[in-house]
């Protein structure tokens, strides 16, 4: 019997790209550089994580517009508020855990209550590191959904990030964006009609057997799963919903109505508590839309440390697990 090779913890260098997948390096950093060439108001500020949020790309290009604020997330948010008060458009970067758990009051009172033009861009959202609960922001969306005035974006891939940066610059107000950093997969290029817009959900694939509503990297998984399910004869619609707040209620309700009697899945790289899934569930209840509703997301627990592929399988957010769950439920109904 041969021992299987032990996977090593993919942690600080964790990549969500599959082997052979097309990727773009540091799409956020490069997109911000391009935006900053056009808009002099943009400044970059980080809390000792410039290299780990791809903001260093901006810092290399614009050293005079790059502010290293040190390992002090409360200060990062306050100073960003001050910069915005003086007319600048600060992009603040840290990890999602620190932005949400540590700096909440500073975002809430100094930025959101004043509706200041601050963009918070944070890496390692959900389960994108094997470092364990100290670095896994499995509940950041749940934390931030309660904050008035804050727009929440969970982009899917490099293309989404590039377009979202431009949209954030155009948009006047506070935004929280979950960041995929490093070598980020490109998957949305195959949908030529797709264009990221704040507050818009868009259908990527059409199929009558089931609907998957997804955000963030789970849209990537949903698309991959839909391809595999098609080979099994199961046709699945995929609705990409990269803006968690404000939610595109009209599009979601319309899509669900078009799948009446079919299972509806909401897939997210986040705990099933308080994220996109519960937002959609509550929306459907408010609108009186009856659907067979399933959540694909992380369990309500502190997650294990380990290798990302292992953990994505363990917690049900790998493509294989999505295929298995959707196929099982569709088969049960037919």
């Amino acid at each position: 019997m041969t021992a299987r090779p032990r996977l090593k913890t993919s942690a600080m260098i964790a990549s969500i790209a599959a082997e052979g997948q097309a990727t773009t390096s540091a799409p956020f950093g490069h997109a911000l550089v391009e935006a900053a060439k056009r808009d002099e108001r943009i400044v970059g500020m980080t809390a000792d994580l410039g290299k780990y949020t791809d903001l260093h790309i901006f810092g290399q290009q614009f050293p005079e517009r790059y502010y290293q604020m040190g390992m002090a997330e409360q200060l990062l948010m306050s100073a960003g508020a001050g910069m915005a008060r003086e007319g600048f458009v600060p992009f603040l970067t840290t990890y999602s855990v620190f932005a949400s758990r540590r700096a909440y009051d500073f975002i809430c009172m100094a930025i959101a209550e004043e509706r200041l033009n601050v963009k918070i861009v944070s890496a390692l959202p959900g389960l994108t590191t094997g470092y364990g609960p100290s670095h896994q922001a499995t509940e950041d969306i749940a934390i931030f959904r309660g904050m008035p005035n804050l727009t929440i974006i969970d982009p899917c891939d490099a293309l989404d990030i590039e377009q979202a940066v431009d949209a954030m610059v155009e948009f006047d107000g506070p935004v929280y964006m979950r960041l995929l950093r490093g070598k980020v997969p490109r998957v949305l290029d195959r949908f030529p009609d797709y264009q990221f817009k704040i507050g818009k959900a868009q259908r990527l694939m059409a199929g009558e057997d089931a609907l998957i509503i997804a955000s963030g990297l789970m849209t990537m998984r949903a698309v991959e799963a839909a391809d595999e399910l098609a080979e099994q004869g199961i046709k699945v619609s995929v609705l990409h919903c990269p803006t968690i707040k404000p939610l595109d209620t009209q599009t979601i309700v319309d899509e669900v109505r078009q799948h009446t009697g079919k299972p509806v899945f909401v897939a997210e790289n986040h705990t099933v508590v308080g994220g996109l899934g519960e937002a959609v569930g509550a929306l459907l209840m408010r609108e009186g839309v009856c659907a067979e509703f399933h959540q694909i997301g992380l369990p309500d627990e502190f997650l294990d440390a380990g290798a990302l592929p292992t953990l994505h399988d363990r917690y049900g957010i790998s493509t294989r697990e999505v295929v298995s769950k959707v196929a099982g439920i569709v088969a049960r109904k037919s």
Binding site: S78, A81, G82, M109, E114
Partner: protein
């Protein structure tokens, strides 16, 4: 080195400031009376500092509180709003007619200071430990714009308990924010007890100095000393941020409140408001006819 203010200010200036300080105290008492409560102890204690700031030091336009060239005055301590309103009224930014609306529904003068409500209120400071960090960002922003404006930030000794304040203290020194002047009101009072009992931060000046700030410690109820300290802080040629640590007396100017067993939130009974105003006039040697 800690500066020691010299006693060389023209006495006319001081006499003017004394009248401004009197009217700030009076405005605060009148607002307190409207609601029957308020942080009047803090307002009376900090009135001299605000008189120097708003009636002498700040480069501002009363009829254009958002004028780009203004010095920015950030009130970290939202519960001191009554004191700042009193000063904004004295400086002519807010009409004295607003006194009667203090803390009422739809008033521009809510109990806790909020930027969206009040002309001249730069930030929302009800949650402590925000002001100096915002000040750091604004000071950096002013430098980016090559502006000569300054940031003043009034914080309290209790606010030094908040760790975020020290993140900002360290950052301001790192960035050499010579356009940032912090003012710490040391009245040794906070919600539960004396500040020195709750969480002692003395020696306060040593701590700021160790963090790289140019530091002055003055009697915050001595107008001459305050004027000298403000002048020295503004005129210093060092590249350090500056802090004025001001020791004040809660209730200053109204003897029965000064001597009251101190609490963070001084109780003033309904029949005592007129007594407070009367004592204030006696302390300042101003008769009822003069002030009306």
């Amino acid at each position: 080195m800690m500066g020691t203010p010299a006693q060389s200010v023209v006495s006319d200036d001081i006499e003017n400031l004394r009248h401004h300080a009197y009217r700030i105290r009076r405005n605060a008492l009148l607002m307190g009376e409207v609601q029957g409560q308020g942080y009047v102890g803090q307002a009376l204690g900090i009135a001299d500092v605000l008189a120097v700031a708003y009636c002498r030091q700040l480069n501002m336009r009363a009829d254009d509180p958002e004028w780009e060239g203004r010095d920015r005055f950030l009130l970290s301590i939202g519960h001191y709003a009554i004191a700042l309103y009193a000063a904004l009224i004295e400086a002519g930014v807010i009409s004295a007619d607003e006194i009667d609306n203090y803390g009422s529904d739809d008033s521009m003068l809510p109990m806790s200071g909020m930027a969206a409500y009040t002309p001249g209120m730069e930030i929302t400071g009800g949650s402590l430990g925000h002001g100096l960090g915002i000040g750091v960002g604004m000071a950096l922003g002013l430098k980016r714009k090559n502006s000569g404006s300054r940031i003043y930030n009034l914080l309290s000794d209790g606010e030094l308990n908040e760790g975020s304040t020290w993140e900002a203290v360290a950052s301001a020194a790192h960035w050499k924010l010579d356009n940032l002047i912090a003012i710490v009101d040391v009245n040794d009072q906070q919600a539960d007890d004396r500040s020195s009992t709750v969480l002692n931060y003395e020696p306060v000046a040593d701590k700021w100095q160790a963090f790289g700030w140019e530091t002055w410690r003055v009697d915050g109820n001595d107008l001459t000393a305050l004027v000298e300290a403000f002048d020295q802080a503004v005129n210093s040629t060092s590249d350090k941020p500056r802090v004025l640590i001001c020791d004040t007396l809660m209730g200053r100017g109204v003897p029965f409140l000064e001597s009251r067993d101190k609490t963070h939130f001084i109780r003033v009974d309904e029949n005592e408001w007129s007594l407070a105003l009367q004592q204030l006039d006696e302390v300042y040697g101003i008769s009822a006819e003069e002030q009306s």
